[in-house]
């Protein structure tokens, strides 16, 4: 369980995110949605201790993310940001191997290699594992990054807009793989998503944010309503019945 208590980030006197108090339960996929500037990424990166918290407290599985040694956190929580650019030239497999660093300290054992192979196979990267990252398409590279955080073998996985720049096919593939990671591997996945329909279809819980506050937290059925979505996104949204569940139409 991830617990946020009065968490606040001050960007300037007038711009602040929070205070946010909420709980994200273990298991399944929780999607963070909301308009631009609502504070989704801020909250996610603060949970992942990539961003300092100005006020309040965040605990993941009972561990305070600020006071617990970073190395210990790295074994229970992994976080992936939107932009990843490396100056080093790495193969897919070497990158995924770095996911084992919190456990191996850089000395990979046979056991580590087994986890690495599993993560690569899980994301269908087996054929590509010896390719260099600069020889991959954007979608393949994104999958390689996700494989790295899966190889980290953490109960909690935080992903900041992993569907960015992915086309339909790859976005759907990615969500299906994350769904499997949650169902088959028992990971708790927290994900920032822009497309409300993706969130509704693939996630178990939706956490809606606006103006730095959590405005709604519930199941997709509770969120996928005309008045709720229109309020969150400041736009006329009509929810219709699609072939695979409710669909939000906003254009």
């Amino acid at each position: 369980m991830i617990t946020l208590t009065d968490v606040q980030k001050d960007y300037s006197d007038s711009v602040q995110i929070g205070p946010v108090t909420t709980e994200i339960e273990s298991g399944g996929i929780t999607a963070l949605v909301g308009p631009n500037g609502a504070g989704k990424s801020t909250i996610l990166t603060m949970i992942g201790r990539l961003l300092d918290i100005d006020q309040g407290q965040i605990t993941v599985a009972g561990h305070d993310v600020v006071n617990t040694p970073s190395k210990a956190i790295a074994k229970i929580l992994s976080v992936l940001r939107q932009e990843n650019h490396f100056v080093t030239r790495l193969t897919v497999r070497q990158l995924v191997g770095f996911g084992r660093f919190p456990h191996s300290g850089g000395r990979l054992t046979l056991g580590d290699e087994k986890y690495i192979s599993e993560a690569i196979d899980f994301l269908n990267l087996t054929e590509l594992e010896n390719r260099y990252l600069d020889q991959l398409s954007g979608g393949q590279r994104q999958r390689a990054y996700v494989a790295m955080v899966l190889a980290q073998q953490t109960d909690y996985v935080l992903l900041d807009e992993p569907l960015n720049n992915l086309d339909m096919q790859h976005a759907v593939q990615m969500m299906k793989q994350l769904r499997r990671a949650a169902d088959e591997l028992g990971r708790t996945i927290v994900i920032v998503l822009h497309d409300i329909n993706f969130a509704a279809h693939y996630s178990d819980k939706i956490l809606a944010m606006k103006h730095g506050q959590v405005v709604k937290h519930g199941t997709p059925e509770e969120i996928m309503r005309n008045e709720v979505l229109s309020e969150i996104f400041n736009t006329e949204v009509n929810v219709i019945d699609g072939p695979n569940g409710p669909l939000a139409v906003y254009y």
């Binding site: 210990a72 030239r89 995924v96 290699e113």
Partner: protein, 345 residues
Amino acid sequence: MMFKTAEQQAPQQRHSKPITDRKHMRNYVLMMILLGVLSVGFTIGIMGYNNPAEFGSDGWWVIADMRRDSLLTIGVVALCHAMATIAFQTAVNNRIITPGIMGFGSLYTAIQTMFVYVFGMAGVTMLVGVPQFFLQMAMMMLLATALYTWLLSGKFSNVHIMLLVGVVIGGTLGSLSNFMQRMLTPSEFDVLTARLFGNISNARAEYLPYAIPIALLVTGFLWVRAHKLNVIALGKSTALNLGVNYKRELILILALVSVLISMATALVGPMMFLGFLTAILAYQFADTYSHRLLFPMGFLFGYAILSGSYFILRHVWDAGGAVTVIVELIGGTVFLIFILRKGRL
């Protein structure tokens, strides 16, 4: 247990090691052998070539001892510049800038110029000696460490701002030196100029008993932290995700780098290009993320280039003086040819 052995015997075992396949391994080993042979060749050349005294006589040994000190200096300088530059570029996540950007060279120039400006010709000799060597080194380290700790731990907490401030300080010190140099007499200026180019002969034998242990100690420390450096190279958020205490590691690496570069600069003068060159050649030819493989290759490149330049300048062309000229010529050409052929950085 049976299962494991069967897996090990599989023809193409899946692994994540820094050397990807047999061809990569062969290239790395061949390059190391080539560099090793070159280094040994130049070492023998410098020791033995054109020694005017009769072989085995007392005079021969006196000259050989002096040449040995030059070789040790070359070794220390190559070690410092190669490892410091690779570690620095990893820490700031940029493979174009070098530690020189923090103003080490400018501060050295300013100190030397100031002494000649104030004390005249005698100023140059006043800066020779072990205490003076440590003093110059300490001043450069003080500047660099103050910059790191102030700009990285404060509210800026930004590598780019730190670099920018370093460039501005370097520029300011540079113009200050320029201004003072204008006021010197031509003969004073001549003496000063000889000190301002990186030159192996600037080093004196009495520095070496201090310089060698310090260089070995600091580079040894970097070697031990190589695994963490591999992770730091992936950038701040990935390193934090993988549980590395990023800020502490960064300040530590930069402090070690400043020790190495300050010492090398106090020893022989500024050598802007050497570190950049050795680092970029090591990245190209080692083609791996592992610092345990990059460091030795960088060092051998540095040693081969420096000793080769020194050998050609001093012994073949019989022209003492600025080794940096040759370093930039040979090294720059190799670098350009390589980039043009491979087509990527």
